[in-house]
């Protein structure tokens, strides 16, 4: 089966029976139905916290950015991290050392995080009074795209060493991004990074996303990223207060699962 050119596909009307003697059962349900249900429960449980789902290729610098974020944001906001990897708890240890309660999800062979894994992981965290929860997804620009984890913001990262056309190669994960982070700008010149071409690719695929150009290593450009998180945290807190005033019962968080 080759990849079809979707423009040539003729959509047959639902209910066409190709098997003699068979009958049609309409289902019309998303394959994500179960995950989306758990994600909605997560969203209820996360009510008071701003929740990020950070995705990128392996090695783009997710953990490095989060280490700096924990150190610099941690002075005025409480931050906790859930981090997914196929193996090892190295990243959770790094983030814990940076000062954030961190839970490692070891996925084994699974190439992405699902809402249920996150629900189990946050059982080990105290969400009460938590300002920001960051979910660092498995390093992968394909598989995590379809799984809603219950986050408020999807953050997609790329680094200057990866090629300017990354957003064009992995459109779905950039298209769904609320924010796009371009990391390692301190070495952009050394690797011949074409900034205009990269930003053009981001703007074409994700015209609505906020873009941050920064270096997690040197700290260049990180202030704007932290201000963005503080602003989003304020907006989230204000919306929760507004909802709570309208529906007092909603203050009781639903258990995920």
């Amino acid at each position: 089966m080759s990849v079809p050119n979707t423009r040539d596909v003729k959509v047959s009307p639902h209910g066409t029976v190709a098997t003699p003697g068979a009958r049609v059962v309409q289902v019309q349900k998303s394959l994500m139905t179960h995950n989306d249900g758990v994600a909605a429960a997560n969203r209820d449980a996360f009510r008071g916290s701003l929740v990020l789902n950070v995705v990128s290729s392996p090695g783009s610098g997710k953990t490095a950015l989060l280490e700096r974020t924990v150190r610099e944001l941690g002075t005025d906001l409480s931050v906790a991290i859930v981090v997914g990897d196929l193996e090892t708890d190295n990243d959770a240890e790094r983030l814990h050392a940076a000062g954030a309660p961190s839970v490692q999800i070891v996925t084994g062979t699974v190439c992405h995080l699902e809402a249920e894994m996150v629900a189990r992981a946050v059982d080990q965290l105290d969400l009460n009074g938590l300002d920001v929860l960051v979910i660092e997804n498995v390093g992968n620009l394909v598989c995590p795209a379809a799984w809603d984890l219950g986050e408020d913001l999807r953050v997609t990262m790329l680094s200057v060493t990866e090629g300017e056309d990354k957003p064009l190669k992995y459109p779905r994960i950039f298209k769904d991004a609320d924010a796009v982070v371009v990391n390692k700008v301190d070495i952009a010149d050394a690797v011949g990074f074409d900034r205009a071409r990269a930003l053009d690719a981001v703007r074409k695929v994700a015209p609505g996303a906020r873009v941050f150009e920064l270096s997690a290593r040197t700290g260049e450009g990180v202030a704007a990223w932290l201000d963005y998180l503080r602003e989003q945290r304020r907006l989230k807190a204000a919306s929760v207060v507004a909802d709570g005033a309208a529906a007092p019962d909603a203050a009781v968080a639903t258990e995920p699962g």
Partner: protein, 116 residues
């Protein structure tokens, strides 16, 4: 290889729907997959071959309809089909980029063909 997770979810939904209908065999599973859903057809087929063993869909055909990506242009107030596979949604009439994707992310179990 997230297609395996998708296939497990698909078989779960399909078996529940078939059993609720009193069916004992699923002859065909009809899926609708959006152009930007990030699904590799070969990986989907491969996962299905392995996962269907021992289910009501053990001998079922997998029929996939691919849906084109469609975006909405707020300036022209009209929908347009993306003419590329890069997810670039630029209105062909007024050249404005659009972030409003109306179709293309679908991962939908549409219907089954079953036998009693």
């Amino acid at each position: 290889m997230h297609e395996f997770s998708l296939v497990m979810s698909m078989l779960d939904l399909a078996e529940k729907a078939a059993r609720a209908d009193g069916a004992r065999r699923i002859c065909a599973i009809h899926l609708e997959i959006g152009a930007l859903a990030g699904v590799v057809p070969e990986a989907l087929e491969f996962a299905f071959e392995g996962a269907r063993v021992g289910t009501l869909a053990e001998d079922a055909r997998l029929e996939v309809t691919y849906l084109p990506a469609i975006a909405y242009c707020a300036t022209c107030q009209s929908e347009f089909e993306l003419d590329n596979r890069f997810g670039i949604a630029v209105c062909p009439s007024c050249d404005t980029p659009s972030a409003d994707l109306r179709q293309g992310r679908e991962l939908q179990l549409a219907h089954l063909e079953v036998e009693a």
